[in-house]
């Protein structure tokens, strides 16, 4: 379980994350939603030690993140930030291999290759594993990066806007993979996501942030209601049930 205890972070005078406490269930997909600048990405960065909080603490499986060795954490938690621009000449397989660094420190073993093959298969990248990253489209690149985090074989996978710049087909494909990671392999997935319909259909829990504070949290059914969404986004949405899935219609 990931426990966040009254974490705050400010840039200058502006509090980006303001006294946030939240617990993340194991083996589920939790989506962080909220307007731009609500502090979602910052919170994800703090949980994954990319940033340190001004106050408060984060515990992963009862261990304080601050006091855990970075290399040990890398076997427990993986984070993928948005916008991964690389000017390196790297093949897809090379990139995915980097996911094994916490274990092998650069010298790949037979076992590492098994994990790498599996991650590539999971993201359906077999055909293009020898292609270089600069030959790939945005969606393929994004899948390659996700494959790297899968090869890292961590219990917790944190993704910051994984659907950014992807078309519907690839978005759905990625969300389905995340669903499988949670359901088949028991991974805990945390994502920051803007499209609330993807959050509604594919996640188990939703945490809504606004102005650095938690506005609402709960299961999908609890959060995806006209009233709660109005509180979060400040606009009217009608919720339609289609095929047992709650779809928000926000085009007014």
């Amino acid at each position: 379980m990931v426990e966040v205890h009254s974490v705050s972070k400010s840039y200058g005078l502006k509090a980006v994350v303001d006294d946030v406490s939240v617990n993340i269930e194991k083996g589920k997909i939790t989506s962080f939603i909220g307007p731009n600048g609500a502090g979602k990405s910052t919170l994800l960065s703090i949980i994954s030690r990319l940033m340190s909080a001004d106050s408060g603490e984060v515990l992963i499986d009862g261990q304080k993140v601050k006091e855990t060795k970075s290399r040990d954490l890398a076997k427990k938690i993986a984070i993928l930030k948005q916008s991964n621009h690389l000017s390196l000449r790297l093949s897809v397989r090379d990139l995915v291999s980097f996911g094994r660094f916490p274990y092998s420190q650069g010298k790949l073993t037979k076992e590492d290759h098994v994990y790498i093959d599996e991650a590539i298969r999971y993201m359906e990248l077999e055909d293009m594993q020898d292609k270089y990253l600069d030959q790939l489209s945005g969606g393929q690149k994004q899948r390659a990066f996700i494959a790297m985090t899968i090869a890292q074989d961590t219990e917790y996978i944190l993704l910051d806007e994984p659907l950014n710049n992807l078309d519907m087909k690839h978005s759905v494909q990625i969300m389905k993979v995340l669903r499988r990671l949670a359901d088949e392999l028991g991974k805990t997935v945390l994502i920051v996501i803007h499209d609330i319909n993807f959050a509604s259909v594919y996640s188990d829990y939703i945490v809504a942030l606004k102005d650095g504070k938690i506005e609402a949290q709960g299961t999908v059914n609890e959060i995806i209601t006209s009233l709660t969404l109005k509180q979060i986004y400040g606009m009217d949405m009608s919720i339609q049930e289609i095929n047992n899935q709650k779809i928000c219609v926000y085009f007014s």
């Binding site: 290399r71 890398a74 984070i79 930030k81 690389l86 660094f101 916490p102």
Partner: protein, 315 residues
């Protein structure tokens, strides 16, 4: 194994240019000429490799392939130290003073400056590495202005002595300090071995490196100190020559098209040796000392730099 054959090719080229430099037009008094040439070529090999490795490390740490470590102002600081010495102690200090003392002072100041700069950077958490570059750039300009200020005040004859130091030259290598330089470089490179495995990961960027379990601040701080020592040694040995690094590292990248630093370190060092030894051969035998190697390097390097900028902007 194309990588291996390319490396072997480079080794052969490097050996050929070293041999060429040593034996062309050796003349009948070889027992006099050969040891002198050997001394010079040893300094060339050392400086070349050191500059190449330092630049490669710097580009990896900053994730930028068109930067050289000179941007943090170490070259300008070297000139400032030399000028200050002449300003207060007179030009005789440079010629009379024990070369080892001068070397120790120069290297000492440069490393100290780098440490202070990094202190400023890493005191606050989450500081951007570009902040360091900006600070270094400002300090470098400051040192440069201060140096020219002192240079216009001193006697023109004294200025001439300093001018010799302003351009990198292999014609007056400080051979007296060579052993010190080798010892310092050897120790630094040994220390670098500890961090080589992190370099590939660092080239993926800060966030990915942390995600993969690299202790980012710790590693980068040590790498920056290693870079500062290597640059200081090379500068104190032959003068400001960091532009060479930009050239050879990029040639190594283009030749090998790889991200693996275990290969790139050797490749860029070898390219550097080929460029320097070959260039010095041109200077001595083709131009018969009518020009300096650094002029040729800056000329070719400048053209290549513009080419790089044009290529990057097209992307």
């Amino acid at each position: 194994m194309r990588e291996k054959s390319k490396l072997i090719l480079l080794v052969i080229l490097a050996a050929a240019s070293i041999a060429g430099y040593l034996f062309i037009e050796l003349g009948p008094n070889w027992d006099y000429a050969l040891p002198r040439r050997a001394e010079k070529i040893a300094a060339i090999v050392l400086t070349g490799s050191v500059i190449a490795i330092a630049t490669l490390l710097f580009q990896t740490v900053t994730n930028n392939r068109i930067l050289t470590p000179s941007i943090i102002g170490l070259d300008s600081l070297y000139m400032l130290v030399q000028t200050t010495l002449v300003f207060f102690l007179g030009s005789t200090s440079l010629t009379v003073m024990n070369k080892q003392v001068n070397f120790a002072i120069s290297v000492g100041f440069m490393v100290l400056f780098a440490l202070v700069l990094y202190r400023l950077l890493f005191r606050r958490e989450g500081q951007n590495i570009y902040f360091l570059l900006l600070l270094g750039l400002i300090f470098g300009t400051f040192f440069g202005s201060f140096t020219s200020f002192m240079q216009v005040l001193i006697d023109p004859n004294e200025f001439q002595i300093i001018q010799d130091r302003m351009f990198a030259s292999f014609n007056n290598i400080q051979t007296e300090v060579f052993m010190m330089a080798i010892a310092l470089t050897g120790a630094t490179l040994l220390y670098l071995m500890k961090f080589v495995k992190y370099l590939d990961v660092l080239s993926l960027g800060k966030d990915t490196a942390i995600n993969l379990g690299v202790d980012y601040d710790y590693t980068v701080k040590r790498l920056l100190v290693i870079i500062a020592i290597l640059i200081s040694v090379a500068t104190a040995l032959v003068g400001p020559i960091t532009f060479l690094g930009l050239l050879v590292v990029n040639v190594a990248y283009e030749m090998f098209k790889t991200y693996k630093h275990s290969t790139l370190i050797f490749a860029s060092a070898l390219v550097s040796v080929v460029a320097l030894a070959g260039g010095q051969m041109l200077v001595e035998h083709v131009f018969t000392f009518s020009t300096q190697l650094s002029v040729i390097i800056n000329f070719i390097g400048g053209i290549y730099f513009i080419y790089l900028l044009l290529k990057e902007s097209k992307k």
